[in-house]
């Protein structure tokens, strides 16, 4: 579950301040986070992931308070508990699809890249329909394929909470539908909590509920 109370955050040398008095997402829930540009949706995801630290308030993600952890512990928490999906995919162009999926295991000494992990990566690729592109580099993939690769990377560590920042923002409607289906399917299978930022009001109905950040942070 996710719990936020009395959160205050502002960037240095900026007039923007994010205030969230209270926000609760229960375990396994699929929640859309909507709101106008600049209202702090991405900032909120970064705060939840421990990439940014709040000025005030409490953040609890899967029974852990990321701001209270050390840098190393926050990184370990992020990699072990959270799955992150970005709008611009953020794949490494020098790695092929399979290696991009395995990336969390390459960059975290705490994670061991075993045969079981490789098998799981292959299984995820199969389930998301990207298995025929495993040896291709990102430069040769369509936008939808890139996002499905990023999704596999986020799910490989079997996160209990998935934070997705407009993962369908750069996709056409067919790819958007496919990615969303995969996202929901995988979250349901892993019983993971999903908090997804979206501008697309047409998608809001497909979530358990939608949170309008502008309203929450008022």
């Amino acid at each position: 579950m996710i719990l936020i109370q009395n959160l205050v955050f502002h960037y240095p040398r900026s007039t923007f301040t994010l205030r969230v008095p209270e926000l609760v997402v229960t375990a396994g829930e699929k929640v859309a986070l909507a709101g106008p540009s600049g209202c702090g949706k991405t900032t909120l995801l970064h705060l939840l992931a421990g990439i940014l630290l709040p000025d005030e308030g409490t953040i609890l993600v899967v029974d852990t308070e990321p701001p209270a952890l050390s840098d190393a512990a926050r990184r370990a928490f992020r990699i072990a508990t959270l799955g992150l999906v970005f709008q611009d995919f953020q794949l490494l162009e020098y790695l092929d699809v399979f290696e991009n999926i395995l990336l969390p295991y390459r960059i975290n000494p705490a994670l061991r890249l075993t045969l079981a992990v490789r098998a799981r990566a292959l299984q995820l690729a199969r389930e998301t329909g990207i298995d025929h592109r495993l040896t291709h580099r990102p430069g040769r993939l369509s936008q939808g394929e890139k996002q499905r690769t990023a999704l596999c990377r986020a799910l490989l560590t079997q996160p209990r909470c998935l934070l997705a920042d407009e993962p369908t923002g750069n996709l056409d409607s067919a790819a958007k539908t496919r990615v969303l289906e995969v996202l929901f399917e995988q979250c349901a299978r892993a019983r993971a909590t999903l908090l997804m930022v979206t501008h697309d009001t047409g998608l809001l109905g497909r979530f358990d509920r939608a949170i309008h950040l502008a309203e929450v942070s008022r």
């Binding site: 990439i51 992020r78 953020q90 490494l92 162009e93 020098y94 790695l95 990336l103």
Partner: protein
Amino acid sequence: MKQVLFLAWQSLRFNRLQSVILVFGLAVTLYLPLAVNGLVGRYQAGLLQRAATTPLVAGALGSRFDLVLHALYFRGRVPRLLKMADVEALRDTGYAQPIPLYARYTARREPIVGTTLDYFTFRQLRLARGEQLLELGDCVLGAEVAADLNLAPGDRLMTDPENVFDIAGSYPVNLRVMGVLAPARAPDDGAVFVDLKTTWLIQGLAHGHSDITGTNADAGVVLNRSATNVTANAALAEFTEVTATNITSFHFHGDPADFPVSAVLPVARDEKSAALLRGRYQGPEATIQILAARSVVEELLGLVFRVKRFFDVNAVLVAAATGLFLLLVVVLSLRLRRPEMETMFRLGCARGLMARLVAAELGAILLVSAALALIGTEITLALVSLW
């Protein structure tokens, strides 16, 4: 570390063109000073080794560098000449056995070294093929000369005229190749050895021609005949090669004590004899200089190293400039790769691991560059020693 190396390798492989350009740029920068140092080192070792095996060099007064380069390496200007009487005077001191050298002429541009058989013993030169010098007009070839000119025992080798415009000068002599020396990895490999008398023959101090003293001699070549003397005109043909049938007709004109040599290697009996011999020829009235070859070569190398220091400073400046360029490349590369680094950080990668990744890529490039530079240097040195 294994994972870091894997990612570094993947990145370098993906950016292979940039990596190859960097590697070659660095390899060339490293190769140049390495190769120059290696070559100078070998040159120095070769020069010093030759000098170490030739403690003393004697010659006429003049440039000590010319004399040592001439006597040890058969290169450079021919120093002022000594007379055989000087050689005998050296022998008469009783301190050393003088080995005369007369290296003034060439055969197909290779230096001809006139000497005695003692030289071969002194330099521990041994024959690979054929026989030693037996008669006037014989020669023994250094290994490189034999290979370069494709000559073997039994072949002939014509000496080069000293001056093609001087028709009254010495005639080329067609030498008979008697033997080929085993490679000595020394200047002896590049020389044509003849007996001292053969060098005087090349100079024209000796010659051979048909008998004009007999009554059946060609009357057209005899200008004047008396009871004690026969004078021939220019139509009298001189022999240009020594054969079994004409060897008896060769004869010398003049006093052998006046015959020239260009240098002498005095082989002293011991260090004390060497010191006494040098002392004897150090006065202001001395007409001969006796030099310690090693100290002259070291003095010469001092000049070479002064030039080399300039190259060393140059290499340091080039290395510094290359280092700055490399730094610029790394900084620009990091700027280009900021999104990649950001992604890795967001996924939970430690900043230290990212630094290790960049360091591994840079290290791999430096390592390959250094390896290439070392291999290139070794190949260059091997090629130079073959050449």
